[in-house]
C-alpha cells in the first residue's frame, strides 16, 4: 500500500476565534496532482500553508509520510515546498535565487541543476542567470520562484494561484513544469487556482471548497 505524503485528520484552523478551515480527512498521494478550487476566503491558501507546515492547526493532526511534523524549520520543509501567488525573491541574481535551496542542502553540481531548472520554466539561462531581482517582470519573478522550487526535486510541491499574474504562454510553461515535477520527479502536487480551465487541465482531481470546507470532489483522470 502506498503511503500518503501528507494526511490531514480532523484538522481545523482558526484566526481570532473564527474557524476558517475544517477538513475531516484528506490524503495527498505521491505523484498525484490535486487541484483546489473555490471563491476567495474558502480556505485554499490556509490549507496550503498547513500542508506546507508553515502554521500549526488549531486542532487535528497533519502527518508527513505517516509521522507528525513540526512547523519549526526541519526535515519536512526539505521535502515540501510552497510557491505563493506573489513570491519573494532574495536580493540576489536569478542564479543565486534558484541556487539558494541547493546551497542550504549542500548539493553539488549546482550550475548545471540551476540551468536545467531555468530551461524548464522557459527562462534562457544565458539571458537571465545574471539578472538582478529588480530587473524582472512579475511573470519572470514567478517563474524564477518556481524554478527555485523545482530544482529542489521536492516530494510535494504546493502552488497557490501560480498563474494569477502570468500570460497564456507562461501559464502553459507552469503547467508543463508542474507535469514535469510529477512525471519526472515523482512529486505530488497541490495547486490552488481560480482559473478552472487551467486547474482541470493540470489536475487529476479537483476539490471544491467553500466556507473552509471541502464541498465537492471532481475526479478528472
Amino acid at each position: 500500500m502506498i503511503q500518503p505524503l501528507v494526511s490531514l485528520k480532523n484538522v481545523t484552523q482558526s484566526y481570532s476565534g473564527r474557524t476558517v478551515l475544517s477538513v475531516d480527512a484528506l490524503d495527498v498521494m505521491p505523484g498525484a496532482i490535486l487541484g483546489l478550487a473555490g471563491p476567495n476566503g474558502s480556505g485554499k491558501s490556509t490549507m496550503l500553508r498547513l500542508i506546507a507546515f508553515l502554521e500549526a492547526p488549531a486542532s487535528g493532526e497533519i502527518l508527513f509520510r505517516g509521522r507528525p511534523a513540526s512547523i519549526r524549520p526541519g526535515a519536512a520543509h526539505r521535502d515540501v515546498t510552497l510557491l505563493v501567488q506573489e513570491p519573494y525573491l532574495l536580493k540576489r541574481t536569478v542564479f543565486a535565487n534558484i541556487a539558494y535551496g541547493l546551497k542550504v542542502r549542500g548539493k553539488n553540481d549546482i550550475p548545471a541543476k540551476v540551468r536545467r531548472a531555468m530551461e524548464l520554466v522557459g527562462l534562457a539561462p544565458d539571458q537571465f542567470a545574471r539578472r538582478q531581482w529588480f530587473e524582472l517582470s512579475g511573470g519572470e519573478c514567478q517563474r524564477v520562484a518556481l524554478a527555485a522550487r523545482l530544482v529542489l526535486k521536492p516530494r510535494l510541491l504546493l502552488m497557490d494561484e501560480p498563474t494569477a499574474s502570468l500570460d497564456e504562454k507562461s501559464s502553459r510553461l507552469v503547467r508543463e513544469a508542474a507535469l514535469f515535477a510529477r512525471n519526472e520527479l515523482g512529486a505530488g502536487l497541490v495547486t490552488a487556482s481560480h482559473d478552472m480551465s487551467w486547474l482541470r487541465d493540470v489536475s487529476d482531481c479537483v476539490l471544491h471548497m467553500d466556507g473552509g470546507r471541502i464541498v465537492g470532489r471532481e475526479q478528472l483522470s
Binding site: 508553515l54 515540501v80 515546498t81 536580493k91 539558494y100 542550504v104 542542502r105 527555485a148 522550487r149 529542489l152
Partner: protein, 231 residues
C-alpha cells in the same frame, strides 16, 4: 576668502609633500576610526539584529533608549570614558587613557547606537514574506538568520557609513580621551581645533580638506562594497 584658497592649496602641498605631522594625524584618525568601526559593527550588528528580529517585554523602552543615544553629545561620552579610564577610575589599570585604543573605546560608544538602531530598523523593514520563503526553501534556523542579515546588507552598509561619518568628524572624545598629543593621539579634528585656536586658519582648512578626502575614500570603498553586494 584668501585663507580658504590658501588652505585649499596648502592642503595639496601637505598631502603631496608627505608632511609628517599631517600624516601622523591622518594615521591617528584612520587607526582610531577603523578600530571603533570594527568594534561598533561586531557588537552593533548582532544587537541590532536581535532588537529588530525578536519580540520581548520592554522592547519599546530599549528602542527609545537606543534612539535617544543617537544624539549623545560627544563631549559627554568623552567625559564618561575619561572618568572610567583615568588612573583613579574603575578601568584605570588598563592604561588606555591618552591612547588611540582609548579614543576608539569612546568612538565605539558613539557609533554603537547608530549601528544598533539602523540595523534594527533595517531588519524590521524586511519583507514579511522572507521568513516563509526561506523556510519553504528548506533553510535551517541558522541559515534563516544569516540570510535575513544578508537581505538587510544594503541598509547595514548605510548604517556603517552613517556611523563612520559621525565617528570620523567627532572631536569631543578625541580631545578628552586622547589628549591631543602630537605624534601620538592628535587626530585631524583635534589638529584643526588647535590650528584654528592658534589663528592658523589656512592650516585648519587644509586639514579639513584632508578629513573630507579620508571620508570620500571611505565612502567610495563603501559604494564599491554595495555594488559587490548587489552582484
Amino acid at each position: 576668502m584668501d585663507y580658504l584658497l590658501q588652505g585649499f592649496m596648502q592642503g595639496f602641498v601637505l598631502l603631496f609633500n608627505g608632511d609628517a605631522e599631517t600624516y601622523s594625524a591622518i594615521w591617528a584618525t584612520v587607526y582610531a576610526s577603523s578600530l571603533s568601526m570594527a568594534c561598533s559593527l561586531l557588537i552593533g550588528v548582532p544587537l541590532g539584529f536581535l532588537l529588530g528580529y525578536t519580540t520581548f517585554p520592554g522592547k519599546g523602552a530599549v528602542r527609545t533608549t537606543v534612539d535617544t543615544l543617537l544624539s549623545f553629545p560627544t563631549v559627554v561620552i568623552g567625559l564618561v570614558v575619561y572618568a572610567l579610564l583615568t588612573r583613579n577610575g574603575p578601568l584605570g589599570g588598563t592604561g588606555l587613557l591618552f591612547t588611540i585604543p582609548g579614543v576608539a573605546v569612546g568612538q565605539t560608544l558613539l557609533g554603537l547606537p547608530i549601528i544598533v538602531a539602523l540595523t534594527a530598523n533595517a531588519v524590521e523593514g524586511l519583507d514579511k514574506r522572507l521568513p516563509m520563503t526561506l523556510i519553504t526553501l528548506g533553510a535551517s534556523r541558522r541559515q534563516i538568520l544569516w540570510a535575513t542579515v544578508t537581505e538587510a546588507r544594503f541598509s547595514i552598509i548605510l548604517a556603517a557609513m552613517a556611523a563612520y561619518g559621525r565617528i570620523v568628524s567627532e572631536i569631543g572624545i578625541s580631545m578628552m580621551v586622547g589628549g591631543n598629543i602630537k605624534w601620538h593621539t592628535r587626530t585631524i579634528t583635534t589638529a584643526i581645533a588647535l590650528e584654528t585656536g592658534k589663528g592658523e586658519f589656512a592650516m585648519g582648512v587644509a586639514l579639513g580638506m584632508v578629513l573630507l578626502a579620508v571620508a570620500l575614500a571611505v565612502n567610495v570603498a563603501a559604494a564599491g562594497m554595495k555594488k559587490k553586494a548587489v552582484q
